[in-house]
Every structure is written in structure tokens, then in C-alpha cells.
């Protein structure tokens, strides 16, 4: 036995060993066909190497020819397995190349056995001994080359093209790892088969005298393929290890989930649809009141539900089985074995097979009884509230209303839920309401809505009603809400209007009475201009009667008559305005002017009664808003009282009228007399109706004055002066320019 025998045996043994290793691997993992294909390749190479050894040792042409003929059989299998391996391992776009290579190799195999000698030779004439290094010698064939060998060479070429094409494609499109694989496997196959083809060509033509050593090249292919597969095995092992770790983790997280679910009273469940079997955690069983070992299916599940909720839940469960259905989610009541009710919320997701058929539903159920009770309580509370209630989210969508709201606005509950609250706001303020609502999101504090403004809601029939609205922000787990309570104030407004009307009537009555008392003074005020007119007119007649008539004087007189007439007219106008019976009309007023007018009306009264009037006006005064006539009435009344008081006690009655605006927010008019003053216990009582100190008085004057001042948002009160006498104060708010 020489070293040739040893080397070639080792080639065969190595190939076979590698092949057998992967055969074992393949037996374990039959789906991995590349292992089987590798085994085929390796076995073919091992067989081929044995034939090749025999060819080198063949002493006769006949033996050589026969051996070579049979050597084509493992070569064919090697072709097929290599093509299969490459196809299986890499994607090929041009499989036809591979099939063509195999096909042609098959044809070559058939031709090989039909030929006179074999595929390569027509005839081998003699075997030439070739001495080698180490006293070895082998035989080389000498004969006539067969043209059929071209078929074999062509199949070699096709295989090389196929592998090169696949490798090149992988090289171009793959990542670094894929490139490496393409280079190792593709490169070795191409190089080995190229070498084999060249060697065979050279040998056949007899140009060189070298032994066939194709097995060495094929061994390189086997080693390259084994290396490639080795990587696969290693990465599979790594993956396996990783899988084991993540499985461990999965188990841990499942345990944790179970613990969390248990702690949160969450029941996890899984319903096998086909088997109609429900698996659930211990907590889930407790929630539903199932026995620990009890078998649970859909029927048992539905039985545990309150009869009122059963149909709804059953419908939803069945609907969620349909293809494309949404996840199951329902709140429902469970009747526990002891008869107690429990509200739960259940959520489930369907899992489907590749055909879209529902296989199982997994989900979770938790106890929402406490929340439901709280909601129920909240709902009851809202329903029982004495006003209309609206629960509105930050977008202004109504999510809850009570019966009051329905009757107040004429909508049915369903017509309001889900609609925007702006539906109930009059058109003219709708956009500003939206802005207010946005602003309120920043503020987020309970308060009354629309400070100082009159608010209106709009009914379904389009009519408006005056309302008052209180806002209460609520933070819930479903987000932020505002609970708005709306009160219909139309009756109150009506009552207020009625009260105002009565006050105006009473004020009018008091005014007429008061003017009756003042009539002497007023007659005097009228008499003065009338008197002047009469005297002027009679003087004019006389001047005209003279000869010649004194026309200059008459012109003068006529001008004076016009003046006096106008004056009389003014008195009458003032009188009429005080006597007129109208609703209060508020307008911007300068209180100094109002006081002056009243003093003018009372001028002759003061004269007759010998009352001195002193004034001290702050000028300019801020403007107040009020009804001129009613405020004049108040001042007239207070002045007449002051006059009475001053005249009754002192030789020289004096009234001091002062106006001031200390803060700039109010205007105060004070009327001080030097009479006897007011007993301290009566300082407030004098404003009560029917309290009077005058024998002929009704005792309504000051009561009416106070109601008038109050209707102007002002104050009326009395104080005693340090030096004797009383002062009455009228304080009115200054009219704000921006309102």
C-alpha cells in the first residue's frame, strides 16, 4: 500500500464521515433537506474517490475502461445533489440551468453505458505506468478520445454557470453573511468543477500525462458545503439556547401576569371555540362563581349572567366570531350562587387560523361593581337634582342629561346624547360660547357661568328661555368632564319684572302725591313767567297806543315775552316728566344736573319757608346709570323731608347739598339739614313702610325712595350730624364704560 492509496482512502473516508454526520442530523430534522443533499454529495464524492483510486491502479485497459464507466454513476448523483443543495440553500432565478446540467449529465450517463468503451474513450489501447515520488507508480490510459466526452463537458459547463449565476445573484443582493456563504459554496463548486472539467479534457486528449485527481477538488467542495452547514447548525443551536431563555422569561412573565391579575381581581380566560371549553384562572372562576374543577363552556358562561343581560352578551359573543368582527367588550351582571349580583367588564380577542376561522378567544374579565355603583349613585343624584343637568366632555359633547333637562328644553334624552352642547345655545352667542368653553379648560374651577351676563338656552321649538348655569369640572378615568346645572329663571325674571312694574307704579303714585304737596311751589314757579308775560303784554299795548307808538320798546318786550314763555314751558315739561307713568328707563346721568333740577323745582318752596340751601358739588362727577325721574323723585322727597325738619326746629333753617365721588366707583349725594336729627333707634326704621313722624304722612316716601335706589344697585341711608340735624346719603355705582 502506497501513499496514494492512503490519501485517496482518506479523501473518501473524510467525505463519507462528514456525510454521515449530516445524515444523522437530517434523521433528527427531516425537514432540513439540505442535510440529506449534503450527505448525497459527500457519499458520491467518497464513491468517486474510490473509483478514481482504482483507475489509477488499473493495470489493464479493460479494467480502466470498466472502472471509469462506473465512476460516472457517483458523478451523476453528485451533480443532482449539488444542484439540489444550491437550489435549497440559495434562491435561484434560473433553475433551468440546474435542470439542464442534471439532464445533460443524465444523457452523458446513458451515453457512457452505450459507448463501446466509456464516455471519455472510444478505445483505450494501453496503460502507461507513471512513476511517482516515493517509489509509487500509477497507470495512465492511452487511447482514442471519444467525441461523446463533449456532452459531459457541456454538462459541467452548465453546472458551473448555474452555480456561478446563483452565487453572483446572492453576492449582489445579499448581506455580508450571505455574500460569505455565496463565496465559499459557489466559489468552491465552480473552482472544483472547472478543475475537474479541465483535467478530464487534458486527460482525454492525451496532451499531458497526469493522473486524474478530481477527488481532491471534490473534497474541497464537500468541505466547503460542510462548513456552510456547520454554520447553520451552530446558529440553530444558538437560537435554541436563546429560545430556551425566552421561554423561561415567558413563563416568568406569565406567572407575574397571573399574580397581577390575581391581585387586581382580573380573571384571565381562554375559550377554545371548537371544543367549547373555557379555561380560566382561579380569580376568573371566583369572579363568575365557578367551581374549581367545574367544566365551563359557553352555555355555562351564559347561565351565570343576569337574565336581562344574557341576550345582549350572547349576541355579542356570537357576533365577534364572524370574520372581521371587532373585539368583544361588554359590561354585564353575574348572578353569583348566593344570589348576589356582580358587575363585570369582559374583553376578549378572537384568534383565527389561516382560513380566518375563529379558533379561540382570549380575554380578561374584571369586577366593576364598585364603579358601577358609584356611577349608578351619580346617575341617581343627577336625575334627582332640582335643575337640568348636563355632563359634557371637553369637546362639548353631551354624555349625560337628566329628566329635568328633557322637560325644560323639549328634547328627548336620545336627541341630546352625543350632540354638541352648542345645540342649546342661541345662534348669536354660539361662537363666543365655544371660545368661553376653550378658556374654561384652562381655568377648570367650579363657578357660575357668564358672570354678569344674561344667559339664554334654546328649546327644541326654537324659543329661548332665560337660565342660570353653574359649572363643575370633573376629572374621571374617562377624561375631563363638566357637569353643568341649568336653572330656568324665566319665572323669577317674570317676578322681577312684575316687582319692577309695581315699584314703578308705586313710585309714580308717590310722585303724584308729593307733587300735590309741592303744588303751591310749582304754581309759583309757573306764575312768575306768566306774570311777567301779562305785564309785558299790557305794557306793550300801552306803548302801541301812544302817539306815535313806541315800537322799539314793543320789540324789546316781545323778546322778553318769548323768554318768559319758554321758561314756563320748561316748568311744565319738568312737571309732566315727573307725573308721567312709564317704566324706569336707565340712561347715563350726571348727578349734579339731577340735583340742580330738583333744587330749581323746589326753589320757591325754600323761599316761602325761608330755607337756605347751600351746595357743594364735586365737578366733574363720574356718570351713573339711572332713571332721571325716579332719582329726582328720591332727591325731592329727601329735600322736602329735610325742609320740614329744618323749619320745625330752627330760626334759620339750612340745607346743605353735597355731591362727591371719593373712590371713583360710586357717586354719593348727601343732604344735610339742621333740624332735630333722628333718634338713633329710628335711623333704619324710617325706611320701613308706614313708619312716619308726620301727622299727614303715609310713611311710604322713604320706603319707596330706598326701593328706587336699590333698583339702581345703590344705597340709601341716614346718619345724624355731629352738630345736630340729620344727613341722608344716596350712593349710586358709577357706570362702567366697557359694560
Amino acid at each position: 500500500m502506497g501513499w496514494i492509496d492512503i490519501a485517496w482512502s482518506m479523501i473518501g473516508a473524510t467525505s463519507l464521515t462528514l456525510g454521515l454526520i449530516y445524515l444523522l442530523v437530517w434523521i433528527r430534522q427531516p425537514t432540513q433537506r439540505s442535510y440529506l443533499l449534503f450527505f448525497m454529495t459527500a457519499a458520491s464524492v467518497a464513491a468517486f474517490s474510490m473509483f478514481e483510486l482504482r483507475m489509477m491502479r488499473a493495470p489493464t485497459p479493460d479494467e480502466y475502461v470498466a472502472t471509469l464507466r462506473w465512476a460516472h454513476v457517483p458523478l451523476f448523483f453528485m451533480f443532482v445533489s449539488v444542484v439540489g443543495f444550491v437550489r435549497y440553500h440559495f434562491d435561484s432565478r434560473r433553475m433551468w440551468l440546474g435542470y439542464a446540467a442534471c439532464g445533460l449529465r443524465g444523457v452523458a450517463l446513458v451515453l457512457n453505458f452505450r459507448a463501446s468503451a466509456n464516455l471519455n474513450f472510444e478505445k483505450v489501447t494501453t496503460m502507461l505506468p507513471l512513476p511517482l515520488w516515493g517509489h509509487e507508480s500509477i497507470y495512465l490510459p492511452v487511447g482514442v478520445a471519444s467525441p461523446l466526452a463533449l456532452v459531459g463537458q457541456l454538462s459541467n459547463l452548465l453546472l458551473i454557470c448555474f452555480v456561478a449565476d446563483v452565487s453572483f445573484a446572492v453576492w449582489r443582493h445579499g448581506d455580508a453573511k450571505a455574500r460569505h456563504r455565496a463565496a465559499v459554496v459557489g466559489g468552491s463548486v465552480v473552482v472544483a468543477f472547472l478543475a475537474a472539467a479541465i483535467l478530464a479534457g487534458l486527460l482525454n486528449t492525451g496532451l499531458v500525462r497526469i493522473p486524474t485527481v478530481v477527488s481532491v477538488a471534490f473534497l474541497a467542495v464537500v468541505i466547503a458545503m460542510a462548513y456552510e452547514l456547520g454554520w447553520d447548525v451552530i446558529s440553530a443551536a444558538r437560537l435554541n439556547a436563546r429560545l430556551r431563555v425566552s421561554e423561561e422569561r415567558l413563563r416568568e412573565s406569565e406567572q407575574r401576569l397571573q399574580m397581577a391579575a390575581g391581585a387586581g381581581e382580573l380573571g384571565l380566560w381562554e375559550w377554545d371555540v371548537a371544543a367549547d371549553e373555557v379555561w380560566t384562572t382561579r380569580e376568573g372562576r371566583a369572579l363568575f362563581g365557578y367551581g374549581a374543577e367545574e367544566r365551563v363552556g359557553l352555555r355555562r358562561f351564559l347561565q351565570s349572567i343576569h337574565p336581562d343581560d344574557q341576550a345582549r352578551v350572547e349576541h355579542d359573543v356570537k357576533a365577534s366570531l364572524d370574520e372581521g368582527a371587532r373585539d368583544f367588550e361588554q359590561d354585564f351582571r353575574i348572578v353569583l350562587p348566593e344570589g348576589r349580583l356582580r358587575w363585570v367588564r369582559s374583553r376578549g380577542r378572537i384568534e383565527r387560523d389561516e382560513r380566518g376561522v375563529a379558533v379561540r378567544m382570549r380575554g380578561v374579565t374584571h369586577d366593576v361593581t364598585a364603579r358601577r355603583q358609584a356611577e349608578e349613585r351619580f346617575r341617581t343624584l343627577v336625575e334627582a337634582a332640582p335643575s337640568a343637568m348636563f355632563l359634557v366632555d371637553v369637546e362639548g359633547t353631551i354624555s349625560l342629561v337628566n329628566a329635568h333637562a328633557e322637560t325644560m328644553l323639549g328634547y328627548a334624552r336620545e336627541e341630546l346624547l352625543g350632540r354638541s352642547i352648542e345645540l342649546l345655545i342661541p345662534e348669536r352667542v354660539r361662537s363666543s360660547h365655544r371660545a368661553h368653553r376653550q378658556a374654561y379648560r384652562q381655568e377648570w374651577l367650579p363657578r357660575a357661568m357668564g358672570a354678569g351676563r344674561e344667559l339664554f338656552a334654546i328649546r327644541k321649538d326654537g324659543t329661548e328661555l332665560p337660565v342660570e348655569v353653574g359649572l363643575n369640572p370633573m376629572q374621571t378615568f374617562e377624561g375631563r368632564f363638566v357637569l353643568a346645572s341649568v336653572v330656568d329663571v324665566s319665572q323669577r325674571k317674570q317676578a322681577e319684572l312684575e316687582a319692577a312694574r309695581q315699584r314703578d307704579q308705586l313710585a309714580h303714585l308717590a310722585r303724584v302725591t308729593m307733587l300735590g304737596e309741592l303744588s303751591g311751589s310749582l304754581a309759583h314757579e309757573l306764575n312768575q313767567p306768566l306774570s311777567a308775560i301779562l305785564s309785558n303784554a299790557q305794557a306793550a299795548q300801552r306803548f302801541l297806543a301812544r302817539d306815535p307808538p313806541e315800537l322799539d320798546r314793543v320789540v324789546e318786550i316781545l323778546a322778553d315775552i318769548v323768554k318768559s314763555d319758554k321758561r314756563a314751558g320748561e316748568v311744565i315739561t319738568r312737571l309732566r316728566s315727573l307725573l308721567r307713568k312709564e317704566e324706569a328707563q336707565h340712561q347715563p346721568l350726571d348727578m349734579n344736573e339731577v340735583v340742580e333740577e330738583v333744587l330749581a323745582l323746589m326753589r320757591s318752596d325754600f323761599l316761602n319757608r325761608g330755607v337756605r340751601v347751600l351746595t357743594d358739588f364735586a365737578e366733574p362727577l363720574p356718570v351713573v346709570s339711572g332713571d332721571r325721574v325716579q332719582l329726582q323723585q328720591v332727591l325731592l322727597n329727601l329735600l322736602m323731608n329735610g325742609c320740614d325738619a329744618a323749619v320745625a326746629s330752627k330760626a334759620q333753617p339750612v340745607i346743605m347739598v353735597r355731591s362727591e365721588s371719593a373712590s371713583g366707583r360710586d357717586v354719593r349725594v348727601s343732604l344735610a339739614d339742621n333740624g332735630m336729627g333722628i333718634p338713633p333707634e329710628n335711623l333704619e326704621r324710617i325706611f320701613e313702610p308706614f313708619v312716619t313722624t308726620k301727622p299727614q304722612g303715609l310713611g311710604l316716601g322713604l320706603a319707596i325712595c330706598r326701593s328706587i335706589v336699590r333698583s339702581h344697585d345703590g344705597r340709601l341711608w341716614a346718619t345724624n350730624n355731629p352738630g345736630g340735624g340729620a344727613t341722608l346719603h344716596v350712593e349710586l355705582p358709577v357706570k362702567m364704560l366697557h359694560s
Binding site: S531, A532, S564, L607, N608
Partner: protein
């Protein structure tokens, strides 16, 4: 005889001007004042005439002015004008010697009649006053004895009775009587009595 003057006092400038015109048109000379104070500043308490006076005025009122003038015995007759019929004020005014108390608006007839009356009364008043002044000055010429005799004579006593009262003889009385009659420029007892009355001296009723 001086021209009679009508004074007007009224605080209302329109009424003052109109009254002033009316009286001017009737041919009287008029002096107008916007207040009692103004009037008193220019009046000397001796000028005789008519005062047309507004009742209600700030400061000094009409009645107060009347009182002040009466105290000083001003030879003025007052016609009151008023915007309102106040009976108390009217009574007080008339008691104070007012000629009339007229309501506003006043008709020219009423006003002019009243003014004429007032002027006439003022003239009489003026004449009486001057007569009295002369009688008073004449009486002041008499001696004490003559005055005693005068008093008795005016009382209607006889010479004999007077002599007995004064503790003298009838002849002495006759002498005094002749002297005083000459001094006073009277010729009869009747004339003597009138003169004494004019001077405002008390005349005792004759003893029965």
C-alpha cells in the same frame, strides 16, 4: 309838589322788568330793585311814594321790609304782589298798612288802581305829616303855663274852672289864652282843637 315815585322790589328779573315797563307805560316814574337789600341801600326813609313789593324773596322778605319801613315811619304806601294766596301773610301785610295784596299774574287795572290809591294815600300822608310838623313846631313855642291852659281849653273847661284849678284868677287865664291863640294863629277853640289833634297830642274828652 314833587313827582310821585313808584318803587318796585322783586327778585325775579323778568317780573321786575315787566312790572317796570307796565308802570312806565302808565306814565309813572319808576325805580326798580332786584332785592330788599338793594332798595334799602338807596332809600332815605323820607321820600314819599308807592312801593310795589314781592312777598317771597331770598334774604329779606317782603314782610320783613315792610316792618323795617314802618319802624322808620317811611312815607311809603305798599302794594304787595305774590305768587300764592297765603292768608296769614296777607293778613299780616294788611295789618302793617298795605294798600293791597295782589296775586300774580296781576292785571294792569288792578295794579294801576292800587298804585294810584297808594300814591294818593302817600300824598295825604305827606301833607298830614307836614301839617303836623308845623303844628308841633308852633306848640313848641308855648310857655309851660300856656300849655297847661291849652290842655284845659282843649278839654272844654271854662276860664273860671281853669283859674280855680291852677290857683289863679280868671283874668290871668284870659291873658294866657289870648297869647297862645295868637301864637298858634287860631281864632276859635274849634281850630285850636284841630291843631292839637294834628300834632298828635292827646285830647282829653270834656268832663261832664
Amino acid at each position: 309838589m314833587q313827582t310821585p315815585i313808584v318803587y318796585i322790589v322783586d327778585d325775579d328779573p323778568e317780573v321786575l322788568a315787566a312790572t317796570h315797563r307796565l308802570l312806565t307805560s302808565a306814565g309813572t316814574s319808576v325805580a326798580a330793585f332786584p332785592s330788599a337789600r338793594h332798595f334799602l341801600e338807596s332809600y332815605d326813609y323820607r321820600g314819599s311814594g308807592c312801593l310795589v313789593l314781592d312777598l317771597a324773596m331770598p334774604g329779606l322778605s317782603g314782610l320783613e321790609l315792610q316792618r323795617a319801613l314802618m319802624e322808620r315811619e317811611a312815607p311809603l304806601s305798599i302794594v304787595f304782589l305774590t305768587g300764592r294766596g297765603d292768608i296769614r301773610a296777607c293778613a299780616e301785610a294788611m295789618k302793617g298798612g298795605a294798600i293791597d295784596f295782589l296775586g300774580k299774574p296781576v292785571d294792569e287795572g288792578d295794579l294801576l288802581t292800587a298804585v294810584k290809591q297808594a300814591l294818593a294815600q302817600a300824598e295825604t300822608m305827606r301833607q298830614e305829616r307836614s301839617a303836623r310838623a308845623s303844628a308841633e313846631s308852633a306848640l313848641a313855642e308855648l310857655t309851660a303855663r300856656e300849655r297847661q291852659v291849652l290842655t284845659q281849653v282843649v278839654a272844654g273847661r271854662l276860664n273860671k274852672q281853669i283859674a280855680a284849678d291852677l290857683g289863679t284868677v280868671e283874668k290871668t287865664i284870659k291873658f294866657h289864652r289870648g297869647n297862645l291863640m295868637k301864637k298858634l294863629g287860631v281864632r276859635s277853640v274849634a281850630q285850636l282843637v284841630r291843631l292839637v289833634q294834628r300834632a298828635g297830642a292827646p285830647v282829653a274828652a270834656p268832663e261832664s
